[in-house]
C-alpha cells in the first residue's frame, strides 16, 4: 500500500513539474513584452529596458524558470496588470465561488446518477430502464446553459425562490451565498449526471454478469442486497474515473454558466484575463487549475486502492 501511495505521489509531482515547464514555455513563446505592456506605448526604450532588468526578464531562461517556479511555490503570484491587485487575492476571491460550485455540482451529479444507474442496471430492458436512459440521453444532448435558462425561468422568475443571478459573497451569511449557487450547480450537474448514470449502469451490468454475483445469490441474499453489497463497489472504478474528470471540468470549464448567472468565478477570470492579455493572471490560474486536476487525479488513484484490495499490493 505504501509503495502504491508513494509511487502515485511521485507521478503527481512529476506531472506538475512537467506542466509548469509547458506553461512557462508557452508564456515565453506568446508575443508581447510584459514590460512594454506595463509602461504603455509612450515609454522610451531605456525605460522598458530598465524595467525588464528590474523584472528579471533579461536573465537566462533556466534562472527565470526557477525564479518563476519559486514564486509560485511561495504563492507570490505577482500583481495583475489590469486589475492592479495582487493575483493571489484575485484568485482567492474567485476560488471561493468556483470551488463550492464545483463541489455542489459534483455531489449532485453523483447523488442523482448512482441511484439512477443502479435502478437502470437492475431493471435492464424494462420500461423504467428505457425511460431513465432516454432521459439520460436527452441530458447528455442538451447543453447546460439551456438547463440554466429553464431553471432561471422556473425557479427565479416564476416561483421566485432563488435569485436569478449574481453572488452576494460569503460575508453576508452562508445561506444567501448557497442559494445563489444552487441553480448554477443544478444546471452544471444535470448533463454530468446523465453521463455518469450511463457509466454507472454499464459498469454495473458488466459486474452483474460476473460469477461472484451468482455465488452471492446462491448464498440466499436477495437481489437488492447483492446489488448494493456486491455489485456496486466493484462497479465503482469507472465511476470514480469519470467523477475525477468531471470535477476537473466543473472547476474550470464553467464560463458559460458563470456568465448566465453573473457569477464571479475562475472561468470568467481566465476569460477576461486572456482577452486583456493579462498573462500574469492567466499563468497563475492555469497553474492553479493544473495543480487542482493533478490533486484530484491523485485522490482518484488512492480511492481505487480503497475500493479494490488487489491494487494495494501493487507498486
Amino acid at each position: 500500500m505504501t509503495a502504491y501511495l508513494l509511487k502515485r505521489i511521485a507521478i503527481a509531482i512529476a506531472t506538475l513539474v512537467l506542466a509548469s515547464l509547458v506553461v512557462f514555455a508557452v508564456l515565453e513563446i506568446v508575443p508581447g513584452d510584459p514590460a512594454r505592456l506595463m509602461l504603455g506605448m509612450n515609454a522610451s526604450a531605456e525605460q522598458v529596458e530598465q524595467l525588464r532588468t528590474q523584472m528579471g526578464l533579461n536573465d537566462p531562461l533556466l534562472l527565470r524558470y526557477l525564479h518563476w517556479a519559486g514564486d509560485l511555490l511561495t504563492l507570490d503570484l505577482g500583481r495583475s496588470l489590469t486589475y492592479s491587485v495582487p493575483v493571489l487575492d484575485l484568485v482567492r476571491e474567485r476560488v471561493a465561488v468556483s470551488l463550492p460550485l464545483a463541489l455542489i455540482a459534483l455531489a449532485l451529479s453523483a447523488v442523482i446518477a448512482i441511484p439512477v444507474g443502479l435502478y437502470s442496471a437492475s431493471r435492464r430492458g424494462h420500461a423504467g430502464d428505457t425511460l431513465a436512459m432516454g432521459a439520460a440521453q436527452i441530458g447528455v444532448a442538451i447543453p447546460n446553459f439551456w438547463f440554466a435558462l429553464m431553471l432561471i425561468y422556473l425557479f427565479a422568475v416564476w416561483l421566485r425562490l432563488v435569485p436569478a443571478g449574481g453572488f452576494p459573497g460569503w460575508g453576508n451569511g452562508i445561506w444567501p451565498a448557497l442559494k445563489s449557487l444552487l441553480l448554477p450547480a443544478v444546471a452544471l450537474a444535470l448533463p454530468q449526471a446523465a453521463i455518469l448514470a450511463r457509466v454507472t449502469r454499464s459498469a454495473l451490468i458488466d459486474v452483474l454478469n460476473e460469477d461472484y454475483i451468482r455465488t452471492a445469490r446462491a448464498k440466499g441474499l436477495p437481489y437488492r442486497a447483492v446489488l448494493w453489497q456486491h455489485a456496486l463497489r466493484n462497479a465503482m472504478i469507472p465511476v470514480l474515473t469519470i467523477l475525477g474528470l468531471q470535477f476537473a471540468f466543473l472547476l474550470a470549464g464553467t464560463i458559460i454558466i458563470e456568465n448566465v448567472f453573473y457569477l464571479p468565478g475562475l472561468g470568467r477570470l481566465v476569460f477576461q484575463a486572456i482577452t486583456q492579455r493579462d498573462l500574469i493572471v492567466v499563468e497563475s490560474v492555469v497553474m492553479l487549475l493544473v495543480a487542482a486536476v493533478i490533486a484530484v487525479n491523485l485522490i482518484v488513484d488512492l480511492s481505487y486502492a480503497i475500493v479494490d484490495p488487489r491494487l494495494r499490493g501493487r507498486e
Binding site: T215, R217, A218, L221
Partner: protein, 564 residues
Amino acid sequence: MSPPKGLLQIENLSLEIGGVPVLKDVDLAIERGEVMGLVGESGSGKSMTALTIMQLLPHAARARGSVIFDGIDILAATEDQMCALRGDDIGMVFQEPMTALNPVKTIGGQVAEGIRWHTRVSRAEAEDRARQILDRVGLPEAKFPLSRYPHELSGGQRQRVVIAIACALKPKLLIADEPTTALDVVLQAQILDLLRDLVAENRMGLLLISHDLAVVTEMADRITILRHGEVMEAGETARVLSEQEHPYTRQLAQASMHVPRRKETAIGRWAIGSREGSDNVRLPTADLPTAIPLLSVQSISRLYPGRRTSLFRRDAPVHAVDDVSFTIAPGQSVALVGRSGCGKSTLARMILALDKPSSGEIRFRGETITGRSEADLKPARRDMQVVFQDPYGSFDPRQKVEKLVAEPLHLLEAQPSPAERRDMVVHALREVGLSETDLNKYPHEFSGGQRQRLSIARALITRPRLIVADEPVSALDVSIRAQVLDLFADLNDRLGVAYLFITHDLTVARAITDEVMVMHDGRIVERGPTPSVLDSPRSEAAQALVAAAPDLHRALAKKIREQG
C-alpha cells in the same frame, strides 16, 4: 402427483429459454446422503438443471413439470422462499473458482455473510462460525485468517472458500457444478475427498455435475446421463457403466477411454528400449538417432522478482523455471505434465520466444533463439507454432476463417499471392478435416471442436516442425476430444510434426505421446517413455500425479466391487 419420497424429486421437468427448449421431461431424484452424478456434454442441460433447482435461471426461462425439494414445490416458490432455501438448505459450488469470489471482500466476510443473513446471529458469532467451517475445508486460521482477500489465494484454496460458503449452514443438498474442472488432478482429488467427507458427515445429498465420467464414477452412487436436454439413462453407477445398455452411454465411455491409433515411430520404439541409469531423470540425449535435436533446451531458468514486503525490501526471487534441460527429436511427441503453478507454461512461453530466460539457452534446429530480435526469429517462428487451450478466446470474432488461418503466413520469406494464400488455407483446412466451404465463415459458426481444428490448421499452415500445444483438449467434450486427439496423432504420423503437449491430464499424455517429462517446482524431476513413467512413476511428484488422476477403468472396477 406422487407424494415426495426423497430429498429432491424432479419429475417431467421441461425448460425453455426464450422459446428454445433446453430440457425435455427430465426425471431425477436424490435421497439424503446420496451422491447423484449428472453427466453430459456441454449444452446438454446439466447446469440448467442445477440452476432450475436454485431458481437462478435467466429471466427468459420458463420451466414446467415438478421440482419438489424437502416437501417444497420449487417451481411455485416465491423469491422470498427461495432466498430462505438458497445457501441454507441448498448450497451450490461452481466451476470457476478464480472468479467465483467477490474480489473486493475478504474471505471471512464472504463466508460470514450467508451465515448472518440466514441465522441473524451477531457479526462476531457469524465470524466465529465462518472460522470453523474454513478450518473444516482445510484453510486453517494460522495460514488463512478471515481478513485474506480472494486474490491472495490459489485456485484450489478459493474453491475451498466457495465450498465453505455453500456448506456453512450444513445444507441438506449440495449442488456442485463441475467443481474440479478448472483444477489440476492433485487438487481435484483433494476437493473430491472433501466433498465426500462432507456428504458423510452431514448426510447431505450431493448433485455432482461433471463432463468427466471417471470423476463421476469415483464419486456417485447413481448417475444420470443427459444429452440434448433429455435423460438417456439413469441408475446405479456400476450397473449403468458396466452394462452400457444405452448406445450413448457406450459412446461416452468409449470416448473417455479413447486412445488414438498411432504408428510406432522410430523415436517411440527407441524410447521404450532405453531405461538405464538410477537417476530419476532419464536423459536420452546421448542415444538420439539424429545428430541435431529439433529443440534443445540447455539449463534455462526464469526468475521472477520476489514479492515486495516493504518499500525497500523484497522476498527472494521466485524460480518459476529452475535449471531445466531437455531435447526433442524431430517427429517426437513429448508431454510436459505437472500441477498448476509448476512452471510448465512459463517454460512453454520461453520455448516460443514469448518470454526471455533469466539464464540458459534454447536452440531450435541447432540455432539459438534466446536473445534474438523479432526479425531474426522469423524462421524459428515459422517452424514452431502453438495451439492454445481455449478455442473460444483465441480467434478474433470479427475475422473470417480465410484470414484467421492465413495469419502466420507473414512469417514466410516470399509472400504468397492471394490465390496461393487461398490454396494454402484450403490445404490446411483439409488437413484437419474441414473443407473449402468453411473459408468464408466466422469463428462463432463453428463448434468448440471445430474451432480447435481451426487453430490446428492455423498452426499447420507454415508447415512447422514443432507444435507446442498448451492444454489443447481440456476445454473440449469427451467425444470431440477423442476426435482432436486422433487428429494430432494422424498429423504426427503423416507429416512428422513433433509435439510438446503441456497438460495436467495424464490420459492425454498417455494417448498421444512417446515420452513424458514431469515438472515440479520449476524443475523436471522425471523423464522417460510414456507407458513406463505413467505405470511406474519413480519421483514423488509423478507418483502424486498418477495417484490423483481419475481413471475410468479403475474407478469402475472399484464401484462394481462396492455396488455388487
